[in-house]
Assembly symmetry: C2
Homo-oligomer: 457 residues x 2
């Protein structure tokens, strides 16, 4: 992987030096006393200082001594703006939670300003816990894009579509217009943004909407997300309405292909693992949300064995209740061991692959990000090991997945730019970001106290 | 709960003021704009500033504005010194992990100095994540006591007993002598220390040892811990050897009573839940260790429903791989929802009770600690909510269990003494504590590289 010494440039924009480098390349190369050179947002070289006779001059340096350096985490599924509703309602039956709590506050409070503020707060939280790319699915996604660009975080913003009533011709034409406009607006606008589309689910979108939105995505070469087979209840509802399981229904509509990400994919028959593999669809797995909402446990080992690209996502802060990919990895590594009574499944290195290069490939951008290799965009984080909880260090993969938390992430570089240094976020005013969401929360809280949202929602 | 205003003293040693107070009293009282007065290690008053006409002068103050104040966490089961082996071997079958990795390094490296250094590191990690009491079970527990007192953390140190061969009369007499000496040495020596005993398990201790150690504990009024029904394999081995399940075997030996803590209690028949309830034995539940080692999922909701006192423990850092009670609560709240497909089981407030007053009662010291009420010893922590991941705040119980991590704990008071202020540990030199364990780890690492420990262990 390391380029020959003679190709090391004389100057770089940014040099990360010291620490243990986990490249997450296919060969899973690791280097002690790391040196990584970055210019123009691109990784020029990555290896061990010992192998370079001389390091280049650098406009900026990150000292990674005592830290682990790895690719930033790729959150393949979240509803970023829902930070506004974090912890609003918990420990409730899923349908009560959704219909009596989440949908009513969303109906009242979701607007462009809320999406912008909520996404800024989400971006802050994600940067602070090592995420460098979020795949976001919500409404008013242009506002989410503005927030992500402002925070300096890479995003795959997916404009959401939902039908509260069966859509007529005009409604479908409107969906198509919104989809085309959104993709057109954000295509090639920022190196941080890869726009996508997100018809909500098979049971909240009419088949005309599912097909129409996917057709726009396909025409534009854009990614299409869809919540699929998240709960037993969803499977029952879709089967009652269509005669098919959600996966077979999606297949019948022709919306499964390598540019589709099936979000959750919990309730799959064995032959449906094969359908996802054969169509080339990717999967986003949210272990903490699935656990907390008691959705079930997705067949992730089988999906991986079948060759399906699987990434990890946090889901929204209303259901999880955080956006911390480190905690998500911890849960992912443990839930399958517990459920299958096999301590060898989902080992630490495999889980860390899912959270980095696996997620990048699921999003179709594995050629650009997800590992630390020359030629890739520089999305890099460090984790500080000079803490009691991270001492001693025998195995860096284990330490990250089983001992670390998001708060142990120390530095973050996205597209070659340092967005956090020694836990100081450089791109955002955190106080203001929090205050702005607190103002929304104050109104929601007042509603809750008056019980008007939840009772009559 | 609040004392009348006229009983508020003129001066206190320590005043905690501001923030949201979760008392964890039986009535689950909460107060905004909290004020807590502490003198001589005791809580004198606890309520809302609004209810006191005048606050006393204080020798020391903790400003808890923007924070949640709650009782410190009570870790009802750990092997503190095993921080030295954190992440040494993971993702392995349990018996391979134990016999080829853990037992060999323990045989070579466990000594008084290692226990002292490892426990100091554990105490640092626990203070940093909000634990104010640890129930520790290991060997050379007097060294562990010295470390805990130095760190200023409350401890229930349980001297370990194990038989590698069936013990003769002399070996049993030796166990008794060690047990009596340990309890005698630490009884009434420090307000932080409540000594106890820990025969390892039904399958690593002969029945003569189990009965003899419990008899010493009973005579001294001390607590007795025993790993019980942790794995299906344990149940099989015990049944093969004795004809009884571990719980029935322990009952038949007369070692279950209100001063016994059954650690793990995963593999219980329904009528064995009743046996634990009827004997009055308590249970320590370690969800993360049980998940990671694929032991199974303990019937905690049934134990609680039967009236069994249940606390939460982290288990050792070699199996978890941290000592973070906040992470443990998160796993505890989610694993039962996932396993039972019911999002309403193990709600956030119930889990927080288990980690505080529930743990105190399981350890038989619920009259002294576990809640913030006048007359109790002052073991108090704060959690900082002025962070993106903790914003907004709708429900403090949810926020702690589902959004916080150990690193969000800000201040810690134990026995009325401030041991951590704004995340600065005041009792320990963290750099030296980590260095001392790193020296042990360096030797272990060298062994691992030479493969002499793991291959021939």
């Amino acid at each position: 992987m390391k380029k020959p010494a003679e190709t090391i440039p004389e100057r770089v924009d940014l040099l990360v030096a010291g620490g243990v480098l986990l490249t997450m390349s296919d060969a899973m190369e690791t280097f002690a006393d790391a040196a990584i050179g970055i210019s123009g947002g691109e990784i020029l070289f990555a290896g061990s200082m010992r192998d370079y006779p001389e390091l280049p001059e650098a406009a900026e340096r990150i000292d990674a001594s005592g830290k682990i350096i790895l690719p930033g985490f790729i959150n393949t599924h979240c509803h970023a703006a829902m930070t506004c509703f974090r912890g609003l309602a918990d420990d409730l039956p899923l349908m009560e939670w959704l219909h009596n709590h989440i949908f009513p506050v969303e109906a009242k409070y979701v607007n462009r300003d809320m999406v912008y503020r909520g996404t800024l707060l989400a971006a802050a939280e994600m940067i602070l816990s090592g995420t460098t790319t979020m795949a976001d699915g919500y409404f008013h996604e242009s506002s989410a894009c503005r927030a992500a660009i402002e925070a300096g975080i890479r995003t795959v913003p997916a404009q959401g579509f939902i039908d509260f009533t069966p859509p007529g011709d005009e409604a479908v034409r409107n969906h198509i217009a919104v989809a085309e406009k959104f993709l057109g607006k954000w295509r090639d606008r920022s190196p941080l943004v890869t726009p996508a589309l997100f018809p909500h689910t098979a049971y909240t979108c009419h088949k005309r909407t599912l097909k129409a939105v996917k057709a726009v995505a396909r025409a534009e070469g854009a990614l299409c997300f869809v919540h699929l087979a998240e709960t037993a209840e969803e499977n029952r509802v879709v089967r009652d309405a269509t005669g098919l399981s959600p996966v077979r229904y999606a297949e019948s509509l022709g919306i499964l292909d390598p540019r589709t990400v099936a979000v959750h994919a919990v309730w799959l028959e064995p032959d449906e693992v094969r359908i996802l593999a054969d169509t080339g669809a990717a999967v986003s797995h949210s272990p903490e949300s699935n656990m907390k909402l008691a959705c079930g446990i997705a067949p992730i080992p089988e999906l991986l064995a079948a060759g399906v690209r699987v990434g990890i996502g946090t889901d929204g802060a209303a259901s999880n209740n955080d956006l911390d990919m480190v905690g998500e990895m911890n849960a992912c590594a443990k839930i399958f061991k517990a459920a299958r009574m096999d301590p060898t499944v989902m080992d630490a290195a495999s889980v860390l692959r899912m959270a980095t290069i696996g997620g990048a490939r699921a999003l179709g951008i594995g050629d650009r990000i997800g590992s630390i290799e020359p030629g890739k965009r520089a999305d890099i984080v460090t984790i500080d090991c000079r803490k009691p909880k991270m001492t001693p260090l025998y195995n860096p993969y284990s330490q990250i997945v089983y001992s670390a938390g998001g708060a142990d992430v120390s530095d973050s570089i996205i597209e070659g730019k340092v967005v956090m240094k020694n836990r100081r976020v450089l791109t955002l005013d955190l106080e203001k970001t929090m205050e702005d969401v607190e103002k929304i929360a104050a109104a929601v809280r007042k509603d809750l106290e008056e019980r008007c949202v939840c009772r009559h929602g």
